[in-house]
Amino acid sequence: MSEAYFPVGPGLGLEENFLSLDDILMSQEKLPGRAESALPRLALALGKGGGGAESVPEGSKLEIPLWLAKGLHDSKRRIISVEPPKIYKEAWRTVFSADANVVDLHKMGPYYYGFGSQLLNFDNPENPEIAQTVSNCVYHLQTFISRFRRIMDSSQNAYNEDTSALVARLDELERALFQVGQKGLNDFQCWEKGQASQITASSLVQNYGKRKFAEVDG
């Protein structure tokens, strides 16, 4: 039934796709930040303990989900300031530029590219650490480029194999790409073996039959 299902894909830009489930999951990843002004009655919500009436004092460290940070961040009204997570910082970028293939992006991500692109939203000339994110983007592109060959080769050569080890270290975006490569290979091999010319029952019909059976059962 996969041909008749059109999920909204991730946006992978400055703006997420509103209805993309991947983007919604991505935007709830936490981001380190700091309160630039006191936030009254929010201690409980921001995980700072205390009762409902306690406020978050100015300058306290926070872990804020990306969607909330995006809403609160404003270059004029300084409510919070945001820092990029450490995998987007200089130290990790050196690792990426040495050999991007050795990095486990699933553990680091799993939405490494999408999240990194979103960090551009916090671009603020007053904050030199955030200004780095622009150069960060060059690194995303470089990371993607140097990992491309491996994704392509492993997706196009692994026929009828267990691919879980191959995709374990891939970011969600790369996993989707890997699946597409696998599908191309598998379809071609099926055709070559003559399986494509056999007519089989539509998956809709098969599922319908199952459901009926379940109804009889219950």
């Binding site: 830009g13 622009v134 592109l141 196009q156 490569g181 055709w191 070559e192 494509a196």
Partner: protein, 185 residues
């Protein structure tokens, strides 16, 4: 697009058959075929040739290029060159598969032909991966692939276009003003 759909297009190619029945000229939407006379060669689309062959109404004459000597030459040429060489037919893979599956008794040295075509295919696919990699590395925006056949394009096409799409988005992120504008809807 699925390989079966590519095969559907390949079935429009013409092959020569020798029928063993008589039939007047038939008028089909895509053109007239025939007349069919026993023992006289006539050109028909592959889909009809296979159907007649399965009903044992004809003998199939393999295309000129489906010959061990010529295919060896093509394979060696393909290995020598860095770019893709022209193929004898835009549907060489599909025709080989169809004709060898349904009419291998009419094609001399069918097994060798199958191996040679498969070798050529593997060489070309390896080449395609190599050039895709250097294309991505140099961050090119366009490429010219004249002699690739539809089946080859179709096997890696979705993968390649999707990867390039991601790359384009990651690259345009660098010009925030521009890309923010294009996303404004």
């Amino acid at each position: 697009m699925e390989p079966a759909e590519v095969e559907f297009l390949a079935e429009k190619e013409l092959v020569t058959i020798v029928p063993n029945f008589s039939l007047d000229r038939i008028h089909l939407i895509g053109g007239d075929l025939g007349p069919f006379n026993p023992g006289l060669p006539v050109e028909v689309p592959v889909w009809l040739a296979i159907n007649l062959k399965q009903r044992q109404k004809c003998r199939l004459i393999p295309p000129e290029w489906m010959d061990v000597g010529k295919l060896e030459e093509i394979r060696d040429q393909e290995r020598k060159e860095d770019t893709f060489t022209p193929m004898p037919s835009p549907y060489y893979m599909e025709l080989t598969k169809l004709l060898l599956n349904y009419a291998s008794d009419n094609i001399p040295r069918a097994d060798e032909i199958r191996t040679l075509v498969k070798d050529t295919w593997d060489t070309r696919m390896a080449k395609l991966r190599l050039s895709a990699d250097s294309f991505v590395r140099q961050q090119e925006a366009h490429a010219k692939l004249d002699n690739l056949t539809l089946m080859e394009i179709n096997t890696t096409g979705t993968f390649l276009t999707q990867a390039l799409d991601h790359m384009y988005k990651l690259r345009t992120n660098l010009q925030p003003g521009e890309s923010a504008h294009s996303q404004d809807f």
